[in-house]
Symmetry: C2
Subunit: 215 residues, 2 copies
């Protein structure tokens, strides 16, 4: 699919994007186990949804398969990749390079080839100007020009809450269009920026709430 076709393509609904990403993870696990084919009902049961939903999602993205053996695992992984991944590598920046951010960077880089954390930002003079967790770390003050120079499209915001809100404007000026908000500060971005809140505290509280009376 050409870049122009990607741009012109209508965006999929959020939940579909999440499910496609989950299908890919399951398919990669199948590949790891040496499986070559998988049926829609198997993909469905691994995820707690219906086979109808799986088939509907794959039809929506234009994947068709008429083998009686089920979907070819590698072919489907690649096809989902053409939908989910950018045709070109996409650079991710990480703002705030504390221990958790460093651990995340190590964990994440290498898992996906088209999506990489390529720059980190921090105010700590011990980190700025050095390579940290395998990526070059720059001083926070240079964020806008560095992000523009590195063509950073997505940032992970993992700085302390007290500075997070102050990063909204620089993030906008740097042309960043997606934010994974790892802080507990809600951020006020315009609709042109896609934001996901990924604060572990909120998620653990939610799990605890639904778990606490389940005995």
């Amino acid at each position: 699919m050409t870049d122009a076709a990607h741009t012109a393509a209508k965006k999929l609904p959020e939940r579909t994007v999440e499910r496609l990403s989950e299908y890919r993870r399951m398919l990669l696990e199948c590949l790891r186990q040496g499986r070559t084919h998988i049926y829609s009902h198997e993909l469905a049961s691994m995820h707690g949804i219906t086979a109808v939903q799986v088939r509907r999602d794959l039809m929506l993205i234009g994947f068709s398969s008429d083998t009686k053996k089920g979907y070819a695992v590698e072919v489907l992984i690649d096809f989902i990749g053409t939908i989910l991944d950018s045709p070109d590598p996409l650079n991710v920046g990480i703002i705030g390079m504390g221990n958790l951010a460093q651990a995340l960077t190590h964990y994440f880089n290498g898992k996906r080839t088209q999506l990489r954390i390529t720059a980190a930002f921090d105010i700590d003079p011990q980190k700025a100007g050095r390579t940290v967790a395998g990526v070059p770390c720059y001083h926070m003050d240079t964020f806008v020009e560095t992000a523009l120079r590195h063509d950073i499209r997505v940032v992970i915001l993992s700085s302390p809450s007290s500075v997070a809100a102050g990063m909204v404007d620089p993030i906008l000026r740097a042309g960043v269009r997606g934010v994974l908000n790892f802080t507990s500060t809600p951020l006020n971005f315009p609709d042109s920026v896609y934001v996901e809140d990924y604060d572990i505290i909120t998620w653990l509280e939610k799990v605890a709430y639904f778990a606490k009376d389940n005995r």
Copy 2:
């Protein structure tokens, strides 16, 4: 609210629980900034929802306030706490104590008093039997009896994908009822266990997907 009342109380919808947790974060930020009161439309705009939704959520949990100055920040924080938090401390276990898990443990403990990571599990003999990131680390083989002894209600699953699926049964036998799945392996739990997938790869892919053409 007594423990019996908590148990009898009907569970709130998932999105409401998420929003309440987000309101609390915003309110704690207000508290940090020295604000004593906040209006529903301010809470709403910080989160990109309507004031009507905020008022509806608070009415649903039984919070009423008729001061013209808006909601009293500290009072509302405490009230949300009676809804979201267990009346007793709730113990969290973390399965797999790699660098990311250790960073998470340091980050998380201390943020909420009723919810603490109190035990870690790993197969590494250098970690089992020691205190890691401030919590006692036990050998994975002892998971079921240790989790029962520690009354672990919720686990964070952060082990390698290859062992994650094998932990489903021990988690069930240990009476755990909530799982924050940090791995990229989809897990097949019965409905009695509340599971949230928190795989950073999926979330970053989703942000990148919606960000990639936003220029």
